[in-house]
């Protein structure tokens, strides 16, 4: 099949619908390797979009390649937990064996090796993606074998199956993970209640969003249900946010692996309540390997009359589609996610209007977290009052934590809300802990004297990440890793985040190179104050959180790196002369700067 045949077949399968651009581009790239200028032109013509818009989308997502990529594209997950498990050394060893510079495609076009944001395998790292397939538990010997397979050009499909094994690592189950619901049970209970009573049950349960922000699910569904659609084909939509990009979070991975029926059932219940016929599950590109199993779960549900028309003999109709993301953390923000679902760059929208009144395709849309939707099944089956008995007054039910870092038993822990940080540390076998990064980089860094605090909306709200750092860890380096993450993931739309995240990253690197001074610390505080208030969305508003928290709670980790009390340049002055030394062959005293400016002045 020629390239144009491949392109035409893909766009035809997607009905030449531009809003399906993400899926079109991904499927074409999976077959052709990359998205060439000619490919983008042909796709644009087929979907009837301006070419600049198509290239605008293609260039936004990390997993789309508008330049040729290696036949083997290796991306090491670079979350701090992967770092702590030694990914940097492994990646260096891999690059050395392949005679390769990170980020560069080898001259023969065979392979490229680079880093990527957290792939959600923190409990079984160091992890990586090979041609966007997840591999866990990298070791030095696996690196050696992998390099051999790449050199021999063995297709990834023929690589050892155990490399691709992803374990659930469920360590503690509570009402959700230990549920005994059979597929269809919750949905049929909801259908029996009717939409109004089902909505009332969700409100009685006082269910709040599990993505971290904690908005009332009942109110969200009610607002969506009450919003009138617009245009000639008014509709409402349910969107399941499975763009689990917050570093250190992997509970949705497990829910979608072993509890997918519950998630789809929750989407159906939401659809029933709000009056939607269609649901979209937005799955992060890192979880590409889950696409086929999820599709077969959907097929089974259609077969069993749990999806489609006349569900369980009623006149309720509901369909679910899966959309894959392509490597953009910002798409976890609900309006950016909707933009992405519509085939555009994941840029958070101006709000209001909120998605519940104007979301996907401008129609009322409820966007809910994977865990929230799964929890709604328990409410459908057991009632709101039953659900509200669990957890605390303001935080009902349970929360699934993704525990990783310095502990004996990383994995998935489900607790009723209100559990203390100390209890979780004890259960996961963490000793000598100095800090926990709760809810990921955008959350809160909890120091030892705060381990009595509780996981709950009223104390420590969380999207699920729980990264443990023992006292051997350098909390400055933790914050620096997160600063790099935010600079990489900023969408670039608003000034404070686009430039601010880069300035913060540069200042953290300056301090790491021992070029810092108290001046730089003041600057970090100043940037925090600006970005927190002026940014367009949550990414920019919270991007300085890890720096701010560690500056307050682990200040000596910064101070011991400072070079002097006076202002210091960010770059090494003597190194700035090295090119000229090389070109002139000079190495006399005048061709160097003295080690510091004090000596300089004496000289």
């Amino acid at each position: 099949m020629s390239d144009t045949d491949v392109i035409d077949a893909v766009v035809d399968r997607h009905r030449r619908d531009g809003t399906r651009l993400m899926q079109i581009l991904r499927e074409i790239q999976e077959q052709l390797g990359w998205l060439s200028p000619a490919t983008l032109t042909r796709v644009a013509a087929a979907v009837g979009w301006p070419r600049a818009m198509v290239s605008g989308t293609a260039s936004f997502y990390s997993f789309f390649h508008t330049r040729p990529r290696g036949k083997y594209c290796v991306l090491w997950s670079d979350n701090i937990t992967d770092r702590m498990l030694g990914n940097a050394d492994l990646m260096e060893a891999m690059c050395k064996k392949l005679w390769l510079e990170p980020g560069r495609v080898s001259e023969d076009g065979l392979v490229s090796v680079n880093t990527t944001s957290c792939t959600g395998m923190c409990d079984q790292g160091p992890a990586l993606l090979v041609n966007y397939r997840a591999i866990t538990r990298m070791t030095p010997s696996r690196v050696g074998e992998m390099v051999g397979l790449i050199r021999d050009q063995t297709p990834v499909a023929e690589w050892p199956a155990e490399w691709f094994a992803v374990d659930d690592n469920i360590r503690r189950k509570d009402i959700l993970l230990a549920n005994d619901l059979v597929p269809g049970q919750a949905l049929s209970a909801a259908l029996e209640r009717g939409p109004e009573k089902m909505l009332a049950a969700v409100k009685d349960a006082r269910l709040r969003g599990r993505g971290g922000a904690g908005f009332s699910t009942g109110l969200k569904w009610e607002a969506c249900r009450n919003a009138a659609g617009s245009g000639t084909a008014p509709a409402r939509y349910v969107v399941c946010n499975a763009d689990e990009g917050e570093p250190g979070t992997f509970k949705d991975r497990v829910l979608l692996t072993s509890y997918a029926y519950l998630v789809f059932e929750g989407m159906s219940i939401a659809g029933f309540v709000v009056g939607a016929k269609k649901g979209l599950l937005y799955l992060r590109g890192e979880y590409r390997y889950l696409l086929e199993p999820l599709e077969s779960t959907l097929a089974a549900r259609r077969k069993n009359n749990l999806l489609g028309k006349n569900i369980l003999g009623t006149d309720f109709e509901f369909h679910i589609e899966i959309h894959l993301g392509a490597g953009a953390y910002v798409c976890g923000e609900e309006s950016a996610l909707i933009e992405s679902l519509e085939g555009k760059p994941g840029r958070p929208r101006i709000r209001p209007p909120f998605p519940v009144t104007s979301g996907y395709l401008g129609q009322p849309t409820t966007v809910n977290n994977v865990e929230t939707l799964a929890a709604s099944c328990l409410i459908a089956a057991h009632g709101g009052e039953w659900y509200a008995q669990h957890g605390t007054e303001k935080s009902t039910g349970t929360k699934i934590l993704s525990v990783s870092g310095d502990c004996e038993r990383p994995g998935i822990y489900e607790y009723p809300y209100g559990v203390s940080v100390r209890q979780v540390l004890e259960d996961c076998g963490a000793t000598d802990s100095q800090a926990v990064q709760n809810s990921g980089p955008s959350g809160v860094c909890v120091a030892e004297d705060e381990f009595g605090r509780r996981i709950a909306f009223e104390d420590l709200p969380t999207a699920g990440a729980f990264m443990v750092f023992d006292e051997t860890r350098d909390m400055f380096e933790v914050a620096r890793n997160f600063a790099h993450f935010f600079a990489h993931e900023s969408c670039g739309f608003c000034t404070p985040c686009r430039v601010g995240t880069t300035l913060v990253r540069n200042m953290m690197d300056k301090i790491a190179r021992n070029h810092g001074s108290p001046y730089d610390i003041d600057e970090l505080f100043k940037l925090h104050r600006l970005m927190q208030g002026a940014s367009h969305c949550g990414l920019g508003n919270s991007a300085c959180n890890p720096v701010f928290d560690t500056l307050n709670k682990f200040r000596p980790a910064y101070e011991r790196r400072l070079k002097s009390l006076d202002y210091e340049p960010a770059f090494d002055l003597d190194a700035a002369l090295s090119q000229a030394r090389q070109m002139t062959g000079r190495d006399d005293a005048g061709a160097h700067f003295a080690a510091n400016s004090e000596d300089e002045a004496k000289a």
């Binding site: 202002y567 340049p569 700035a576 090119q579 000229a580 005048g590 061709a591 002045a601």
Partner: protein
């Protein structure tokens, strides 16, 4: 002298000022001279240390150091550090000191390519090879504005800053006022 004096005034201690042009064109210094007859007033208030105006070669302890131009070579850095060490206040004067200006246009080129082009490849220039005399300062790989290397207290933009702006800023500083430039005095071109 508006206020009546209670007693005979003690002789006013003149402020000591140093100036230099680093990677600049001396245009900012020309603009200092453009304050014209006000120079005489200025000389009542200040005395010059190291400056192209005095030909003093090294900067002693000063109240104010005025820097024109950015940093393109090792000597620029030495001079800037000498000023920072000796001057209580450093003023970055003009576009090049503030953002690198025209010399910084080479920053998107690799220094190696620049030196090769000028001293080796270029038809008429390239005869002598890249100069390696120890008397010559080595170029930095990139041109930097001065605030990237030392703490700078005040900035006066412009290419060059207008004489009126220089006068306003200096008189503000001498009077102990935080400098404030109104419309027309603050410009970047």
């Amino acid at each position: 002298m508006n206020a009546p004096m209670k007693a005979a005034p003690a002789p006013v201690k003149k402020l000591r000022v140093a100036t230099t042009s680093l990677a600049g064109c001396f245009g900012c210094h020309m603009s200092i001279l453009d304050i014209d007859e006000r120079l005489l007033k200025l000389l009542d208030l200040v005395e010059f240390d190291r400056s192209p105006l005095t030909d003093i070669k090294h900067c002693g302890p000063c109240d104010l150091g005025i820097i024109e131009g950015g940093l393109c070579n090792a000597e620029n850095v030495h001079v800037l550090r000498e000023f920072r060490k000796n001057c209580k206040i450093i003023l970055a004067l003009g576009a090049c000191a503030i953002n690198g200006g025209l010399p910084a246009q080479r920053n998107h080129l690799d220094l190696r390519d620049v030196l090769e082009e000028v001293y080796q490849t270029e038809h008429l220039l390239g005869r002598g090879g890249i100069p390696n005399d120890p008397e010559l300062p080595l170029p930095l790989s990139k041109v930097h504005p001065i605030h990237e290397v030392v703490k700078v207290d005040y900035f006066l933009p412009g290419c060059p800053p207008p004489a009126d702006a220089i006068w306003k800023l200096l008189t503000d500083l001498l009077a102990g006022r935080t400098p404030a430039l109104g419309h027309g005095l603050l410009h970047y071109d």
